[in-house]
Amino acid sequence: MIDVDKKLHRLNDRLVYIKDIFAGKQDEAVRMLQVRLEEFQARVSEMSSQEKMSALSAMEELFTFMEQKLNEQLTPMDKVRIVRHPQRICLRDILENVYDNYTEIGGQDDKSIDPGMLIARAYITRKRGKALHNQPVMVIGQETGHGEEFRNGGSVKPWGNAKALQYMKVAEIENIPVHTYVFTPGSYPIEDYPGAAQQIARNLYEMAGLKVPVISVFSEGGSGGAEAIGLADRRLMLSHGYYSVISPEGAAAIEGRLRDGARAAPELIERCAMQLKMTAYDNLNHGLIDQVVEEPPLGAKPYHYEFFQSLRNELMRATDEVVLTTRSFALLRGAVSHPHRPKSLENYNAENFVTRWSLSPKARERLLTLRHKKFRNLSNGRWIDPRTPFDKTLSKIQATSTDLINLFRHDLWGRRKKQIGFAVEEMDAGARMLLHRIFTPFFSFMRELVGPRPQPRIAAEELTALSSWEEDNGKSSVWSYISSKAKVDRAVTCPNADKYGCLDLWAPDLYGEFAGVCTNCGHHFPMGYKWFMYNVFDPGSIQEFNQEIEAANPLNWDGFDAKLEQAKQKTGLKSGCITFEASINNTRMCVALLAASFRGGSVGVAEGEKFLSAIERAQRKRLPLLAYVHGTAGIRIQEGTNGVIQMPRCTMGVRRYIDAGGLYLVVYDTNSYAGPVASFLGCSPYQFAIRSTNLGFAGRGVIKETTGMDIPPDYHDAEKALSRGHIQGIWDRRDIRNNLHQALLTMGGRNLYYK
C-alpha cells in the first residue's frame, strides 16, 4: 500500500511538473495524463494489489512515453522553467549522488554567510585493480535547495562569491581540482562591500590565474553570477540548462522598452528566449562550452540515478583530460580527450583508471597557458573584419617583428643594459663614499681656517616685487578640442541648483572653457569621448589601430542589423571600442576607450576583441594600458553568450598583462554598469572615476525588480564607490592629464619601458 501511495504521489508530481514547465501549452497531453490519473484514483479502492501495481506500471510507462514525446517539443523558455523548477536537481543532490563522500564547509544550510553558495570538500573513489583511490576535489556552486526560501534561488550575494574565491585559493594551496556548479539566475545586485560587480571581477581575475584544474557544470547560467565561478578549463553543460547574458524576461523588458517593473507579454519573452540562443546545444555550436551532458527527458530530477552516474563519469573524464593535457608525457591523453576520442575508447569508463589530479609546478604553468589559449579563441571570428587575407598576414608579421624587436630591446639588450647600469651606479656610489671619507677632514679643516662662507644675497626685488603671472605650459583655460555642445546658444541648469544655488551657465562657457564642470558646485556634465581623446593626450600623438573591426550580429537577432547600422552612421564608429596609442608628456601608452554613444557603450564580441588586442599590444610593446570608460551599459544582450564570454576572455588577458609586469589603469566617466565593470574593468588594482560618475553592477530598476529594495538616489555615486573601496580616487575632469601622468610615474609593474 505504501508503495502504491508513493508511486501515485510521484506520478502526481510528474504531472504538476509537466504542467508547470509547459505553462499552459501542451494542453491535450496534460489533459490526457490527468484524466488517466484521475480514473486510476477513482478505481483504486476496488482494485486488488496486483491490479494496482500493474496499472501503476502501465501509467508510469505512459508518463515516460509522453515525457519523451514532449521533450522533443521543448522551447528555450520551457528549459528556463525547467531549471527554475523546485523539482530540478540541485547541488546537494549532486554531492549526494556523484561524489563518494563530502563535507560541507564554510557554513551549513541557513547558518552560512550566504546560503545561496555551497562549498564542500568531497572525494571520488576510483579503482586501480583491487586498490581504491580517493581523489579529493573542492566543490563550489550555487545551491537552490529545491525552492528553500533562504537560498534566494541561488542568487549569490557578494560575500557568497568572496567565500567561493577563498576556497578556490584553498584548493590551489592543497593542489586539488575545483568542480564548480552553476545554478544561478544571476548575482544579487547590491553594492554593499565587497560589491556585486567588484567581487565577480575579483573572482574572474583570480580564477584566470588559479593553478589547479577547474571544471564547471552549467545548469542555470545567469550572466555575471555564472561567470563568478564559471571560468574553467572544461565547461560542461546539462542538456536542459541555459546559459545566457540576461534572463529572457530581462531581455523582453529591454526589447519592449518597459519601465517601472512592467511585465512583458509571454510571446515577447518566448521570442527573446529563442533569440538569445541560450540552450546547451546553442552554446555548444557557438563553441562557448565544451560538452553537453545528456539529461533524462524533461530534465534531471533527484531520483534519476543513471544521470548522476553519467555526470560522475563525464566529470572524471573532464578532470583527467585537463590534468593529462598539462603533462608533457601522458599515455592516457588520447583516451580521455573528448573531441578526439577514438571509437575503440567510446565506452571508456573513468571509474577504472586512476590519474593523479595534483599538478607539478611545470604542469601548473602549462595549465594557465592552455586556459589562456582556450579563452582567447572563444567567440573568434564573430565580428566583421573587412581586411583582406594579405592585410591580416601583414599585420601578423608586424606583430611578430615588434615582438622580436622588443625581445631584443627590452629583454636581451635592455636587461643587460639595466644590469650594467646597476653595476655602474653601485661603483659610483662606492667611489663617492670613499672620496667623502678621504676629503671630509680636509674640507672641515679648511672651513675652520677660512671662516663661514658668505651666503649669496637675496635680491631685494625678489622680496619686494609683486609676483608675476606664470605662463601655464600645459592646458589652461583654452582646450585643444571644444565640444560641439559649446556651439549652441543656450543656458544650462545644474542638477544641484536647488541644493547649492548654482546659477545657470551659458553652454559655450560650460562646455568650452569650463570643460563641462559647474563653477559653483563642481558637478560634471557628461562630455563626448572626443573631448577626452583630444584634450588629454599630447597633440598629434594619437595613433588608432584595429579600427576596421566592426560589431556584428552573431545570433542574427531580429532587427539588430538595422540598429547596428544606425549606430554606425550616427557615431561614425564601427564598434563601441576605440583602441589607440597616445602619449602624455611623451610617455607612450595604449588606450582602449568604450564610447557611450555607440549602443550605450555595450560590449560585444568586436569590442571584446579590440580590448583584448589592445592588452596584447600593450604587453608586446611594454606600454602601460589605460581603459577609459566613457560609458558602458553592460554586455550587449543581442550577442547573447558570445557577449558574456567577453567577461572571462578579457579578464584573462588583463591577468596575463598584469602578471607580465604592466600597468593597467581604469578611468570611469558618466555611467558604467554591469558585465564590463564586473570583469575586465573591475579587476584593475587602479580604478579612478571622474567626478559625478555613476558606477555599479545593476541599475535602480533591476535592483528593485530582483531584490524589492528601493535604493537612495546617490547609491551608485563615485563618492559612494570610493567609500566602499571600489575605486581608488575621484578626479576632476580638468585634471585628468596631470593625474594620468602622475599615475604613470608612481604606479605599475616592472615591464614598462619607461621605468
Binding site: R490, A491, T493, D504, W506, D710, P712, P713
Partner: protein, 216 residues
C-alpha cells in the same frame, strides 16, 4: 486664553492650505497638460527622489526649466492665459489646494498652544540631573518649568554650561532633542504648555489622531 476647540473648528471649516506657485525665473511659459481640479503630487519616495507633478515650464535662453508641484493636492487655479507669454520672475502660475494631514493639523495646534524654547547655538543638550531623574521616573509631562530655572546643560567642544529656561511657566509637553545628538542653533528643544491647557491639548490631539480624515 487660547481656545483650542475653536481653533480646531476653524481648521475643520477650511481643512486645506492654498499654495501659490510662482515662477522662480523670467521666461516664456508653457503649461503642462493639467486642468483645474486635477490631483497633483509633491516630491515623494523614501528620499523624495521622485519629483512633483510638472505644472509648467519656463524657458529662458533656450533652457526650459520645470516648475513642479511642491505639495500634494488639487489644482485650484491654473493661469493658462499666460501660455506662450514672456513673464517676470515672481508671476503666479498655479494655485494649489493642499489638504492638511493629521500631522500638519497637530503642528498648527501645537504651534499656537505651545511655547517653543529654542537652542541658542549648535551643541549637544542634556537636562540637568534633577530634571533628568524626574523625566526618567515620571515622564517629561510631569516637569514644571518657570522662567530662569536651570533646565539644560549645553555641551560643546568639551565645554559644559548650564542653560536656564526663559519663557512662560508650564509643563513640558514635548522634547525635540535626543541624547548625545547635536541640535542646530534656533532648533526647538522643548515645547512648554500652560498647565491649564494641558488636558485640552492632549484631548484635541487625540481627537485629531482618531477623527481627522485625510483627503487626496
Amino acid at each position: 486664553m487660547l481656545d483650542i476647540s475653536k481653533l480646531l473648528e476653524e481648521i475643520k471649516q477650511t481643512p486645506f492650505d492654498e499654495v501659490e506657485i510662482i515662477s522662480p525665473w523670467c521666461g516664456r511659459v508653457s503649461c503642462a497638460d493639467i486642468n483645474e481640479d486635477d490631483p497633483v503630487s509633491g516630491p515623494c519616495g523614501s528620499w523624495l527622489e521622485i519629483p512633483g507633478t510638472l505644472l509648467a515650464s519656463v524657458e529662458r535662453e533656450h533652457n526650459p526649466k520645470p516648475v513642479r508641484a511642491p505639495e500634494k493636492g488639487r489644482i485650484k487655479l491654473i493661469r493658462k492665459e499666460l501660455e506662450g507669454q514672456f513673464i517676470e520672475a515672481g508671476t503666479p502660475l498655479v494655485t494649489l489646494k493642499h489638504f492638511l494631514t493629521k500631522q500638519e493639523v497637530i503642528q498648527i495646534i501645537l504651534r499656537q498652544a505651545l511655547h517653543l524654547f529654542n537652542a541658542p547655538e549648535r551643541a549637544k543638550y542634556y537636562f540637568v540631573p534633577e530634571v533628568d531623574m524626574k523625566i526618567r521616573t515620571a515622564g517629561h509631562r510631569s516637569v514644571r518649568v518657570n522662567d530662569g530655572m536651570d533646565l539644560f546643560i549645553m555641551s560643546r567642544m568639551k565645554r559644559e554650561v548650564t542653560l536656564p529656561y526663559s519663557g512662560p511657566e508650564g509643563l513640558i509637553y514635548s522634547v525635540y532633542f535626543s541624547h548625545n545628538e547635536n541640535v542646530g542653533a534656533g532648533d526647538p528643544l522643548i515645547g512648554v504648555c500652560p498647565e491649564e491647557l494641558m488636558p485640552i491639548v492632549e484631548d484635541v490631539v487625540a481627537r485629531v489622531q482618531a477623527e481627522w480624515e485625510e483627503q487626496d
